[in-house]
Subunit: 430 residues, 2 copies
């Protein structure tokens, strides 16, 4: 069986790109992952590691002794080391830095000055730079021996390293060889400040229409570029963390994380949720006497809470997307609130009628039908209102609404639902 | 007030790219959006419309009379018309086709042969094609007058239009002018079949290391290319629909959709959820007699359901991501199931103890504590098991697990939670 896996993986290694191999390795239980890792060709290894989610990569690093780590990181690129450093022992990073070419070490040290969510940390250094006094002929000559990845632009700098302009490579071919590059450069070239957040910078590249944008530090020096491919990776990571956050999970979660570590992390989220559940129970507890007399209320109460929860999460999801796309601002909150509450009211009335009729027949009591109908309308309207307001407040407080929005919303819809239903029941059914 | 908005938007038009203007227009209530639309310069309009979500775009089209639509679409590119066609009246599309250049019309007709989820429908035609007999000198001459967007490759075709190879433009600069392009072309060039799904094709471009891949039809003809920028758009759309699907929403939902239309769409999702809520109520109803005698059960039962729901949705989210990344296959399902159920058992026992102790004190009854503790363990384990199994089964049935996974999971955790808790209560507390 093991031999068979070895052979299947050998085929995969031949056919897949490094990034696909990373996905494949992540999909394997840890013991098997470590066996297959041995088959990954040396020249692919850094690329595979950089692509993996950090927890999955950690499992591989943990199994490699320091000697082999040194060999693996011999001549690693600055960009790659920046990505790997947080999952490596400090001594290994230091050793790798010492073996690096002077230039790469400088790149590394510049990058790690920036925070993990700033674009300056992730700049790519494979860009084509020329002094602003250079001519078209020089640029064309440079293209012949260049080894950098495909680019649509070259960048001009002043003698002191200050950024001085962007030239579309396209324009070189039809320009006279003696023309100065400065004269060819784009008017008002777009640049990205190194302190900008990763996601804002990546949106900027996406919308630029160019393959990359130059990244400029606080002193107007050209520190590197951010490419469309990086923008794609950043976008993917952002969405993944948003999706994982809805369940209180981390984007870097390994499919085969150790049971104990995984349990510990998830326990926190369950604990937070337990608090909100106790809150709901407490609300129900206020009406113990009523429940004792009208047991139908206990049977029907999850329906009220659940309809509120679903309606609220629809609004919440729409607003969270709007916030992520930068589409929610002071000006459009009032009309949004009106629209969502109207939708809530309409759906509240519709489903209140349906549920009211069913409940009336089920428990042979029109009063029960009326009570649940009223509670449903109230709860769905409250849910729509909260679905707009909660994520906007969280966003203002710079708390991620994708992570905590739904916990808070559920607390509101549970408590409002139970109190409205059991409260109205106490007033009209006893 | 209106004048003020007009001026603010005028500034935005000057400073923003077309894609950013699209996001801004989408963020406005419909009446205001239509006013601001008038300020969008003619040359930006098609770009803005193509970028918008289709429902938001529809609101603009609905307000433009047919005469103006014809003018707007005069000389539209085939790629853009393909994107806009589903939100336009058929007569307008026909008129636009008649005014198109012969070549563009052919492109359009080729594209719409493919389904909306096939990459062939969205190919980009701005690619640099040469006969395979051409030489380096011809290619360099072509670069001088070319107007296509930056590319890293040019493509070779046979006399009959069959795809014949890919040449990295980079390699042209250092090659002798008389060399044949065929000799320079990449070994085993990557291609994308036009029938491939959009998301698979976009992953392929992302992993290719190139800026674009050629798209080949069933007869081996070169139909166009898919670029990294398109891959980014497709990736964004996929994640957005996954996020919106978790709340039963559509990726194209307009923030300011008309109240009636929006209510109608959301009503369906609420109705589906209502069925599952009634299912839970029915389960509770089985234990009416017990609830009448031990009202504490009614107070505590939402806690059991909610802890199961949260634990289950954590597993579900992890598995859905794994499925989306293509990381779940027959081979790793058993170890995944073992891991997730172990995590569930561990967290189940932990929180069972906490909740059991609290419940014992709250209702001054050790028996109630024991009953709820047992129910919590059972429900969290069932939730972990279902969190793995449900999305995998849905995926096999080609039902989107992001859309229906959580509804089905909640039904399971509600019913198992209520039956376990109230069933054990009936056995041990009466």
């Amino acid at each position: 069986h093991h031999d068979e896996q070895r052979i299947v993986f050998e085929d995969a290694v031949d056919q897949l790109e490094g990034t696909e191999l990373a996905l494949l390795l992540e999909s394997l239980p840890v013991a098997e992952r470590l066996e297959r890792w041995e088959q990954v060709p040396d020249e692919e290894r850094i690329n595979v590691l950089v692509t993996m989610h950090s927890e999955s990569r950690q499992a591989i690093f943990d199994s490699i002794d320091e000697e082999k780590l040194h060999a693996l990181l011999n001549n690693v690129h600055a960009e790659d080391l920046v990505q790997l450093a947080d999952t490596l022992p400090e001594s290994v990073v230091d050793e790798a830095l010492q073996n690096m070419a002077e230039m790469q070490r400088e790149h590394y040290q510049q990058s790690v000055q920036y925070e993990t969510d700033q674009i300056g940390r992730y700049v790519d250094h494979g860009l084509y730079i020329l002094p602003r006094t250079a001519r078209v002929r020089d640029a064309l000559r440079g293209l012949k021996k260049s080894s950098f990845e495909c680019a649509d632009c070259l960048y001009l700098i002043k003698r002191n390293g200050d950024f001085a302009g962007t030239v579309l490579i396209q324009t070189l071919f039809s320009a006279p060889p003696e023309q100065s590059l400065q004269a060819l450069s784009i008017d008002e070239p777009m640049t990205v400040p190194a302190e900008m957040s990763r996601s804002t910078a990546s949106d900027k590249v996406e919308h630029s229409g160019l393959m990359a944008l130059p990244v400029i530090d606080a002193n107007n020096k050209l520190s590197g570029r951010i490419t469309l491919r990086q923008a794609l990776e950043i976008t993917r990571e952002n969405y993944e963390s948003q999706l994982m956050a809805t369940a209180g999970l981390n984007e870097d979660e390994d499919l085969f994380a150790p049971v104990l570590r995984s349990s510990k992390r998830r326990a926190t989220w369950l604990g937070i949720n337990l608090l909100t559940a106790f809150f709901a129970s407490w609300a129900i507890g206020l009406f113990e006497a009523t429940l004792q007399q009208v047991v139908a209320l206990a049977v029907l109460m999850p329906i009220v809470a659940s309809m509120g929860g679903i309606a609220g999460s629809q609004t919440l999801t729409l607003i969270i997307r709007g916030l992520a796309l930068g589409q929610i601002a002071k000006g459009n909150i009032p009309p949004l609130l009106i629209k969502e509450v109207s939708v809530g009211a309409l759906n509240g009335v519709l489903w209140a009628i349906v549920i009211g009729v069913i409940a009336s027949f089920w428990f042979a009591s029109i009063n029960i039908g009326l009570v649940i109908a009223a509670a449903i309308v109230l709860n769905i309207i409250a849910a729509a209102f909260s679905g707009v307001v909660i994520p906007i407040i969280l966003d203002r407080l710079t708390i991620d609404p994708a992570l905590s929005g739904s916990v808070i919303l559920t607390t509101v819809t549970d408590v409002v639902g139970f109190v409205a239903f059991l409260g109205l029941g106490t007033l009209f059914l006893l």
